[in-house]
Symmetry: C2
Subunit: 426 residues, 2 copies
């Protein structure tokens, strides 16, 4: 099954915004054993949209188009696709009523041009928008005049805003796709997520033991991000699931505790899950990461059961007054030091009455480095009832990457203390 994704939006090509649809839709389909085979971004131009849709329809069984369904003058998708397929646009009374209700409920006056969103090409299925005014549209094209082999293709138009697109896709589109394309070749995939090892090192450890399984159709992929390397195992055909399972055992054996999770599970989700399982609590004291560690932990639903909060100790004053770090420690060892990290961790643990405390102090840059402690230096402390340990790290990256990697190392320090294993590894 060929699936192509077309993202419309000049802002994507100008770099004004990130294309998050590609990632989200790719994941949703991969979970059903269906892979996006090609993705393209085109500007908000009538000819570019029409050409991209025609090209995709010449190859694909399923074509997803995002964006260009809104009320503004650069929203051209609806009109261009109706024209390409030779279908008339008609106003749909149900959608029109829904749009009026949407504005009434939010007590906002309704601008006139939003009515264009009620226009629907002949024969299209309307996909209700629970979170906005632009409905999605599904068109079954049968026979498909653009495909040399003929057959049929399903064309799905989705609104651009993620919080409108996502529930529409999950609640309406996936069902439609399974209905129209019920048969897919058996497909298995497993992604194991690691931290603390480089990409070459990960491959070096697993490539030889995985070698014999490549002949059986195993595909191995690597994806390196700051502080993380994913190992992706894929197989197709009737033996797919066994092949991937065997390969997973080999990878787990070779990489051991460097594996923190699987699939889309984040390191923070693993840590929160383990804390919940153990009934233990966490507080944080953040200097250079400025709140990112707390932000990441509180992105996990249910974090409030185990996370008590903490202190953003961005200035020496905050370290002294809120955390009880000794003035002598700051004077003798400096704010970025093992001793300060230790006192920050112990101080916030005492104040917050938690089982565990993580503390981070470091130099994010661009300024502030020295020969002894260059930009990128970080000290990470973990205090618990038993003891406090501090690790020194060197993360010589740009500011945002530094913050990310350092908060990652802090979470991993706690994960190892919690004896956390990825679910399937137990």
């Amino acid at each position: 099954m060929n699936i192509e994704l077309i993202n419309t939006g000049t802002e994507l090509l100008l770099g004004a915004v990130l294309n998050t649809h590609q990632q989200w839709l790719g994941r949703q389909l991969a979970e059903l054993g269906r892979r996006v085979t090609r993705q393209v971004t085109v500007p908000d131009s009538a000819s570019a949209i029409r050409q991209a849709v025609q090209e995709a329809l010449s190859r694909a069984d399923l074509v997803l188009v995002t964006g260009g369904l809104g009320p503004t003058s650069d929203d051209l998708t609806r009109e261009e696709i109706a024209a390409l397929l030779g279908r008339k646009l008609q106003s749909d009374a149900g959608i029109a009523a829904r749009i009026e209700g949407f504005f009434a409920a939010s007590h906002r006056p309704m601008p006139d041009q939003v009515r264009v969103q009620a226009m629907v090409p002949e024969g299209a299925t309307v996909l209700t928008n629970e979170h906005g005014t632009a409905p999605g549209l599904a068109l079954l094209i049968e026979p498909n005049p653009f495909r040399p082999a003929g057959g049929r293709s399903l064309l799905i138009l989705l609104p651009g805003p993620p919080r409108e697109l996502r529930p529409m896709f999950q609640n309406q589109v996936l069902r439609l796709v399974e209905q129209i394309f019920p048969d897919v070749e058996p497909f298995a995939t497993r992604t194991l997520r690691t931290t603390g090892l480089g990409e070459s090192r990960v491959e070096e450890r697993i490539s030889v033991p995985l070698q014999p399984h490549l002949a059986a159709g195993l595909e191995v992929g690597y994806c390196a991000r700051p502080g993380e390397v994913d190992v992706r195992l894929i197989a197709r055909g009737p033996e797919a699931s066994t092949t991937v399972k065997t390969a997973e055992q080999i990878v787990r054996q070779q990489l051991g505790s460097a594996i923190f999770g699987e699939g889309q599970e984040t390191l923070e989700a693993v840590v929160v899950r383990r804390l919940i399982e153990r009934g233990q609590t966490l507080v944080v004291a953040e200097s250079c990461t400025g709140g990112q560690l707390g932000h990441r932990v509180t992105n996990v639903p249910g974090a409030s059961a185990v996370f008590r909060g903490g202190v953003i100790a961005y200035s020496n004053q905050t370290k002294l007054h809120l955390l009880g770090v000794q003035a002598g420690t700051l004077a003798t060892h400096g704010a970025v030091s093992e001793a300060t990290a230790r006192e920050m961790a112990e101080g916030v643990r005492r104040i917050g009455s938690a089982d565990f405390a993580l503390a981070i102090t470091g130099i994010a840059g661009p300024g502030g480095g020295s020969a002894d402690k260059p930009v990128g230096t970080a000290f990470i402390g973990l205090a618990s009832a038993g003891a406090t340990r501090v690790e020194r790290q060197c993360n010589p990256y740009d500011r945002e990457t530094f913050k990310w990697v350092t908060s990652q190392q802090a979470l991993d320090l706690l994960r190892r203390a919690l004896g956390a294993q990825a679910r399937a590894g137990n």
Copy 2:
């Protein structure tokens, strides 16, 4: 000038990672008045990479390819492009020595397979990688056999990791592009960033006054994200700069203080800049945002001059003990209330001795809502020497969007108090 971008990586199509290259490269080129005309993502498959490069070369003057230059077995770009162009791969002694030096400097043993990165197609210019082992490659294809019109095309291969790609692009590729394609049609673009108004409302206010300028070639685009709507003005030709400037004045007049910045300037960067200009300081007290407000502020280089830190008050206990919120207030009004937000803001301002304090308390969901205070309810307090004000907001979104929009509203409350205008608006 036609520019096409090819991102290689099965992980992008499976949704394992976000395509940040598209955004970053698009911005870099747009700043030079050059626009990416098309972007495509293909899997790590030999035939897909080769076909995509050939297609792009049949249309574009400049083709950028990211990824697939690393040392692992799914890195195929170098080999496929050499084969497509009929050029031999030769080992480059300079790169080989550089790779060895890289491993020596980081005191890590060198895996054997990294040597493949020293292979270079005949006639290619090597782009030095300052942050990793895989060099980039530039190939001038003249004449271009894939283009019906002939002529020449520049093909640039870049490594996948952003911290390797970015300096390479800025320090080496941009110069090459300007050298080989010195003439571009005059092009002007301006993006004005707004917060607090919906997309339709923004267009309603500006579309009529901008109407007369559309005939002069003005393009207007809108990009809505949670808590933000960008207005993008574009013009080409000799009058481009005047056209955009006139349009900008109209937009500024119509949208007034809803405009917080321009270009890529973030709301947090505007706030930090204004605090620095005024020599004033900020502290924060975050409940439901869990540290994101502090994280956003500390993403801005130079924030340490004005940001003192604060408290992540995720539990009632933290609100009581660290912020001095009254137990009676929590009991009578609840943790999510105007009174609590007020005491949090005033408490953290007192403890942190800062000029301004922002406090956030709310219900991120999915649980915790009531009829009176549904999921999405937030109270945002701003305390200063003069007074404390609290705004109630309703942000009924998913957890991460809720956190983003709420921290956005907090930053905007402070921006308005600071009398902050986008730079060019003064």
